[in-house]
């Protein structure tokens, strides 16, 4: 692997200081993303998670004698969609190869994968770390089979093998070694996950192992040649990816500074101990003997077919963010928050449609997301529909209710449901804008607090106290701007 662009000078904030000076960490990622599909890559068995042992297994998946693979059309389409979503080259001819090795959860004795000619070539992902934009190159994307699962804790002498995952389609997405900090690597995986979820090509569920990463880490003195890399296998959370990179970089720096040498090897991250350790046992005699799978023909695609998939691609987070900023006047920060998940963006867009975009964004981000987070709910499970929240925003915009009342109204709609406008009417929550009534309220407060009146005349910032009192006296329904005006007039300030 080589870096995709000419080397920029290392950024000081990304450097790790050691005994012999500063070090730069170089990171490349191989992400395995489970293709969202009903059936497996080469068989008609289900991909559903959590089934009874070996129940989602066909005779093909169990590698019975004479069984043959037939590729799932949708898995191919999903890989192409993903390639298009990563602005990548889609290869009109690709080849499936066999990667040969023995393991009890690999029934065929080989994994069908793509080695020399993958279905997708070079692409790129734009990431943003602390407000700084960075482009990470994608080397390739290929389709391959997942392996089964071995349980080691069932018996002292035996492992138990379940092939339910065996043959499920994976996309292996290989980045270029373009990342220079744990944060960048985390941002890359987060962004990739967002894109996959937008495309609907992978559900991104890292807890179920549907998205996992092999992390390649090396260190070097800034401006020097790439160091020897270690591959940390199967890291299954974004937090662990960050931790694994940091401890692995530290480990390598210490070895080199102690005069040692890094062995190119496969390592495992142990989150409990906060360390990586060698998987030398698996390393032994790796020689995968790749060759084209003679049970399959080359995968040949027509440009028309690829173009058709391109046309039906959904709007992706980067485009959506630009559009939100342009159409709704959102800040980059707010836009980023809103596009992170497609359902959130869709929800926001429904709320903002024909309304004040900024106000809508405030309510979606601060009130709705805040509340959902607090209750640990997903947006899909929100008790408040976008129409309901939109109606609240309308009531605020038309000055029918005050911001404070709006928060009360949000509570009522959240817990009781119902049409916000009707609730406002029925419960007398409408903002008081009638000048006569407000003047009376102001007069009452002035009359009751002559000392404060004197203070306010000397110190105009006391005005706020009077506004607060009037709001309190009206149960929050007074229009604060109108109250302000009347007070200024009456107090002569």
């Amino acid at each position: 692997m080589s870096s995709s662009k000419s080397e920029a000078a290392a950024k000081p904030s990304n450097l790790i200081s050691g005994d012999t000076g500063d070090w730069e960490v170089v990171i490349g990622l191989e992400v395995h993303a489970q293709v969202a599909s009903n059936a497996k890559l080469f068989s008609g068995a289900s991909t559903e998670y959590g089934a009874e042992p070996n129940s989602h297994v066909s005779l093909v998946d169990a590698a019975m004698p004479g069984m043959l693979p037939v590729i799932n059309r949708e898995c191919v389409a999903q890989a192409i969609r993903t390639g298009l979503g990563l602005n990548a080259q889609v290869n009109l001819k690709s080849i499936f190869d066999r990667k040969n090795y023995f393991y009890p959860d690999l029934p065929q004795g080989y994994q069908i994968s793509q080695y020399k000619q993958p279905v997708v070539g070079e692409g790129k992902i734009e990431i943003d770390v602390d407000g700084e934009a960075l482009t990470v190159g994608v080397e390739r994307l290929h389709l391959e089979q997942d392996a089964g699962k071995s349980l080691h804790d069932q018996h002292p002498d035996y492992s138990y093998v379940d092939l339910n995952r065996s043959g499920v389609a994976l996309m292996e997405i290989v980045s270029k070694p373009d990342m220079r900090s744990a944060k960048q690597a985390q941002a890359y995986v987060t962004k990739l996950r967002t894109i996959l979820r937008y495309l609907g090509t992978c559900d991104g569920d890292m807890e179920k192992g549907n998205l996992r990463a092999d992390v390649n880490v090396s260190v070097r003195k800034p401006g020097t040649e790439l160091g020897t890399r270690c591959e940390i296998k199967n890291v299954n959370s974004i937090r662990f990816i960050g931790q694994a990179i940091e401890v692995e970089a530290r480990r390598q720096i210490e070895i080199i500074e102690d005069g040692g040498k890094i062995d190119q090897e496969t390592r495992l991250f142990d989150p409990a101990r906060g360390e990586t350790r060698s998987m030398r046992s698996k390393e032994e005699a790796h020689d995968y003997r790749y060759f084209p799978d003679p049970d399959l023909l080359p995968l040949e695609l027509k440009q028309d077919y690829v173009d058709g998939l391109q046309q039906h691609l959904p709007e992706l987070p980067d485009e959506k963010r630009s559009r939100f900023m342009k159409d709704f006047g959102l800040s980059a920060y707010d836009a980023n928050v809103l596009v992170a998940e497609r359902p959130s963006a869709d929800y926001f867009e429904q709320v903002a449609q024909g309304r004040d975009g900024k106000l809508a964004a405030n309510w979606v981000i601060n009130e709705l997301f805040g509340r959902l987070n607090k209750e640990g709910k997903d947006i899909a499970a929100s008790p408040m529909s976008a129409d309901q929240l939109g109606s609240i925003v309308d009531l605020i915009s038309s000055n029918a209710i005050s911001g404070k009342i709006a928060k009360d109204l949000f509570e009522i709609v959240w817990s009781e449901g119902g049409d916000p406008a009707t609730i406002v009417e029925a419960r007398g929550m409408k903002q008081v804008t009638d000048t006569g009534a407000l003047e009376k309220a102001v007069d009452d407060i002035i009359a009751a607090n002559p000392d404060k009146v004197e203070q306010a005349k000397a110190k105009p910032s006391m005005l706020g106290w009077f506004v607060g009192q009037v709001m309190k006296g009206t149960g929050g329904k007074a229009n604060p701007a109108a109250v302000n005006e009347i007070l200024k007039q009456k107090l002569g300030i």
Partner: protein, 499 residues
Amino acid sequence: MTDLTKLTLSQARDGLVAKKFSARELTDSFLTAIDKGNAALNAYVLPTPEHARAQADESDKRLKSGNARPLEGLPLGNKDLFCTNGIRTTACSKILGNFVPAYESTVGQNLWNAGGVMLGKLNNDEFAMGSSNETSAFGNVVSPWRRIGKNGKPSTDKLVPGGSSGGSSAAVAADLCLAATATDTGGSIRQPAALTGTVGIKPTYGRCSRWGIVAFASSLDQAGPITKTVRDAAMMLKVMAGHDAKDSTSVDMPVPDYEAVLGKGVKGLRVGVPNEYRVDGMSAEVQKLWDDGIAWLKAAGATIHDISLPHTKYALPAYYIVAPAEASSNLARYDGMRYGLRVNGSNLTETYEQTRAEGFGKEVRRRILIGTYVLSAGYYDAYYLKAQKVRTLIKRDFDDAWNTVDVMLTPTTPSPAFAAGEKSGDPLAMYLEDIFTVTVNMAGLPGISVPAGLSSQGTPLGLQLIGKPFDEETLFRTAQVIEDAAGRFAVPDRWWIKG
């Protein structure tokens, strides 16, 4: 009653339809012949008499009600490479142990759906690796043919029936079935057919589904029949062939009625005779056989053309890279984890290594090691990639030749049947058995072997016809002309029948 086992497939079909005998009577005749004869020949590794009788009874019902299917009630043998639902399938390897599939190969299912009756599972070289049926875990198959010694009497040397489909060729030649399934990766249908005086056709790659057939080398394997006559082969292939959505390499093309072309002759047909098949050391009798074939086709109105297939001599070495490479990977699934033999070691790796050392025979182990070697890091380009490039050139030779000829004629084997043990000590000598047949697999073409004469020792010799892709029809009508001219070659004496 005449001996029903002597009938050809088509004669038996006609006899059943004419109600001269019942399917049950026919099947019972064969079961009796197997009872009495199989011990000496070892053609069947698992006779399935109850299964056969049940199928025959069903056929009798259909025959009675006039609903006969194309192969209704016709007793067949099934090579043990074909998986059979509920019936032990081993590929004649110890490593499959007592494996009982829960599925039927597509080709097998096609035969049973057409009314065929399965008499049992036939012996073969282990995983179809061999040219003499001396590598089977169930022991050698003995050819029903015997050499005539200088004294004019049959020798007691046990001749090989060819391989890997040696059970199929022996059973058909010895009248232990009407016809048999077989597979051909480098010559495993045509060579045993040639050595036993039977007809064997390997169709175009993709014509028959490979689903449910134990794989040897996926890009070369094809199923086909071994039969007593050309017509019988046409009947069998018509039923065995056809598209199968479960095999990505199966071709979606209609299957012609091969029997319909049999009388059409070869008038005006351009027959190519490739120079490169005149190899050093070819015996005079094989040369004469070839000349006879040329003469018969010429007499029937064909034109004969000398052609060149320049890369012919490289086909066999390229084959012995490609086939073992694919086999080394295809046979990785036999690891003692999910089915078949497991020999426990003190850890997982030892279990793998002991299982595979004890489960695979010597020739299979040798080929797995060769295949592993040629695919291993640093050697892939020099061996496997090189061989696949040579394969492109071999195919190109044929593509060029089809501009000037319609079919090619060659001998099937360089020599007649040999005795067991004569070649088994020297792998290279054994590999040379495939020298004329293997190019056809490398290029994915159809090839048929037809009996054409007897050697000086009284054992059969075959001629091979090679056709254009999916032009099996031309092979059948040309083969029929040769069969008509040469006559049929039945074993003179049923010495193997006991009691």
